[in-house]
C-alpha cells in the first residue's frame, strides 16, 4: 500500500437525519455503503488509511436522547451514545458510583481525543482492544438499540462476534448504554499494558470487578475481562468460577491468573508477540485481582 503521510478524508456525504426512524431506514437502505457516525475517532483513521470507503456517514449525535446522561440512585446509569468520554470522566455521579468506568475512559488516548470519543462508539467499533469494553462488561452494561422493528436491549457481554463484528443488523443504531447499580461495596480496576505509560493502544487489558458475595463458596465474586488477547473481548469465566469455589489467597489468585492466561488466544502483531501477551495476561490478572481483593478486605 502506498503510504500518504497526510491523507485527506475521501469523499462521502454527511447525512443528518432528524429522527431515529429516519436514520434506521437510511442505514437499512444503504447497508453496504453507509455507516453510523459518532466521534469519528476510529472511522476517520480507517477511512484515511483506505480500509473502508463509506459513501454516507450518518451522524446520529443529535437524535433522541443520544446526548443525555442520567443517574438514578434506584435504577442506575444511562449514557447516551453521543456523550463524550470526558463528560463521563468529569461526571460526579459516575465518579462516585462507577469509578471503574472513569478509570477505563481515562486510559483512552488523550484529553482532546476523549472530547470526541464515546463509550458507545468504542463498543460498536468492536476492536478486541477497546479500552472501555472490559468495564462495560464487568458492570453488566446493556446496549439500547433502535432498529427497524423498534427498540431493544442487548447485553454488552455477547455483543461481539469478531474483530469489528457485532450482533447489530441492518438499520440498527445503538442509542445509549445503561448500567444497573453496581454490586454493593464492589471494587474494580483496569490494568492496561501499552508501549508507553499513557496514551497508547493496549497490548493487553485486564479488567477486574469484585465484591463480597455470601452466596459464593469463597464469599467473593470476581468478574475478569481480558482485552487485546483474543478476537473478541474475553470474559475469563473459568478463572471467575475457580475463585468463587476456592478460598481466595495469593496462591489461588495466581492459579486463577494462570487459567485466564490459558484462555487467552493473542496474536503476534507490530505491538507485541503472542507469547509476551500471554505471559502478561497472567501477570496483570494476578496483579489486578490482588489489588481488588485487598480493596475488598478494607
Amino acid at each position: 500500500m502506498v503510504t500518504n503521510t497526510h491523507p485527506t478524508l475521501p469523499e462521502f456525504d454527511l447525512i443528518r437525519p432528524v429522527t431515529l426512524a429516519e436514520a434506521s431506514e437510511f442505514l437499512s437502505q444503504h447497508t453496504s455503503n453507509a455507516r453510523p457516525f459518532l466521534g469519528g475517532t476510529d472511522i476517520f483513521v480507517r477511512m484515511r488509511d483506505g480500509y473502508i470507503k463509506p459513501q454516507f456517514l450518518v451522524d446520529i449525535k443529535h437524535l433522541d436522547g443520544t446526548n443525555e446522561m442520567n443517574f438514578d440512585p434506584q435504577k442506575g446509569l444511562v449514557i447516551g451514545a453521543a456523550v463524550s468520554m470526558n463528560r463521563v470522566i468529569y461526571s460526579q455521579d459516575v465518579g462516585e458510583n462507577y469509578p471503574l468506568l472513569v478509570e477505563a475512559c481515562r486510559s483512552v488516548a488523550s484529553y482532546q481525543l476523549r472530547s470526541r470519543a464515546t463509550i458507545v462508539g468504542n463498543i460498536c467499533n468492536a476492536s478486541p482492544a477497546g479500552d472501555t469494553i472490559g468495564a462495560c462488561m464487568a458492570l453488566n452494561g446493556m446496549l439500547h438499540i433502535h432498529g427497524l422493528q423498534g427498540s431493544r436491549l442487548e447485553p454488552v457481554d455477547g455483543f461481539f462476534l469478531g474483530p469489528g463484528k457485532t450482533t447489530l443488523k441492518a438499520g440498527d443504531i445503538v442509542t445509549g448504554i445503561s448500567f444497573p447499580l453496581p454490586p454493593q461495596g464492589c471494587a474494580g480496576t483496569y490494568l492496561k499494558l501499552g508501549r508507553n505509560k499513557l496514551g497508547d493502544l493496549s497490548l493487553v487489558g485486564v479488567t477486574v470487578l469484585g465484591n463480597n458475595d455470601t452466596r459464593k463458596q469463597s464469599e467473593f465474586h470476581f468478574r475478569i475481562i481480558l482485552t487485546s488477547v483474543a478476537p473478541i473481548p474475553l470474559r475469563a469465566k473459568d478463572a471467575e468460577t475457580y475463585l468463587s469455589t476456592h478460598e481466595v489467597n495469593y496462591e489461588t489468585i495466581r492459579q486463577a491468573a494462570c487459567i485466564a492466561s490459558e484462555m487467552s488466544t493473542p496474536i503476534d502483531d507490530v505491538r507485541g508477540s503472542a507469547r509476551y501477551r500471554k505471559s502478561m495476561v497472567k501477570y496483570l490478572t494476578e496483579t489486578a485481582i490482588t489489588a481488588v481483593w485487598k480493596k475488598l478486605q478494607k
Partner: protein, 159 residues
C-alpha cells in the same frame, strides 16, 4: 458530494461558509480561513498539532468535520492572545524556552490553556496527563511543563 451551510465563530469572528462533507475543521481553518497556526501533523488524532478549542474544549481539528461546527465557537492559537497582550501561557513558553522547531507549539498552547481553564493549579502529573496528546519531537517536554507551571503561577498571582 454534499455541501453544508454553516455559521461558525472563529477567534470571535462570525464566519458563514459552505463546506463539503469531507472537509475537516483543520482544513477549513488552514485552507479556507488561512489560519495556518493550526498544524497538520498526523491526520489521525495522535500528535495534537492541530488542537483547537471547540466550545471551550480541546479537540483534534483533523478529527472533526467542518460541517459539525455549525453554531460552534472555535479558538485557534491565533485567537489566544488579546489585542495587545499575549496569553500568559504564551509568555511563559517564551520565557521557559519551550519552543524549538515550533510545530507542536500551537497545539501545546491550546491544550495547556484548556488545562488551566479547568484546573488553575495543576500538579506536574496533571500537566503531563493533559499533554499526552501533544507530541514534541524536539523533546522539549521539560521546558513545556515548566512553562505551564509558570503560567499557572502568574495567573494565580493576578487573581
Amino acid at each position: 458530494m454534499a455541501f453544508h451551510e454553516i455559521v461558525v465563530t472563529v477567534n470571535r469572528n462570525r464566519e458563514q461558509l459552505a463546506v463539503p462533507s469531507n472537509m475537516t475543521l483543520m482544513r477549513m481553518l488552514r485552507e479556507v480561513l488561512a489560519l495556518t497556526g493550526t498544524k497538520n501533523g498526523c491526520s489521525a488524532g495522535e500528535c495534537g498539532a492541530c488542537t483547537v478549542l471547540m466550545n471551550g474544549e480541546p479537540v483534534n481539528s483533523c478529527m472533526v468535520l467542518a460541517a459539525e461546527c455549525d453554531g460552534a465557537e472555535i479558538i485557534t492559537v491565533e485567537g489566544l492572545a488579546g489585542d495587545k497582550q499575549l496569553d500568559p501561557i504564551q509568555d511563559a513558553i517564551i520565557q521557559a524556552g519551550g519552543v524549538q522547531c515550533g510545530f507542536c507549539t500551537p497545539g501545546v498552547l491550546i491544550s495547556s490553556r484548556a488545562l488551566l481553564n479547568r484546573n488553575p493549579d495543576p500538579s506536574e502529573d496533571e500537566i503531563k496527563e493533559a499533554l499526552v496528546g501533544n507530541l514534541c519531537r524536539c523533546t522539549g517536554y521539560a521546558r513545556i511543563i515548566e512553562a505551564v507551571k509558570e503560567a499557572a503561577k502568574i495567573e494565580k498571582e493576578k487573581v
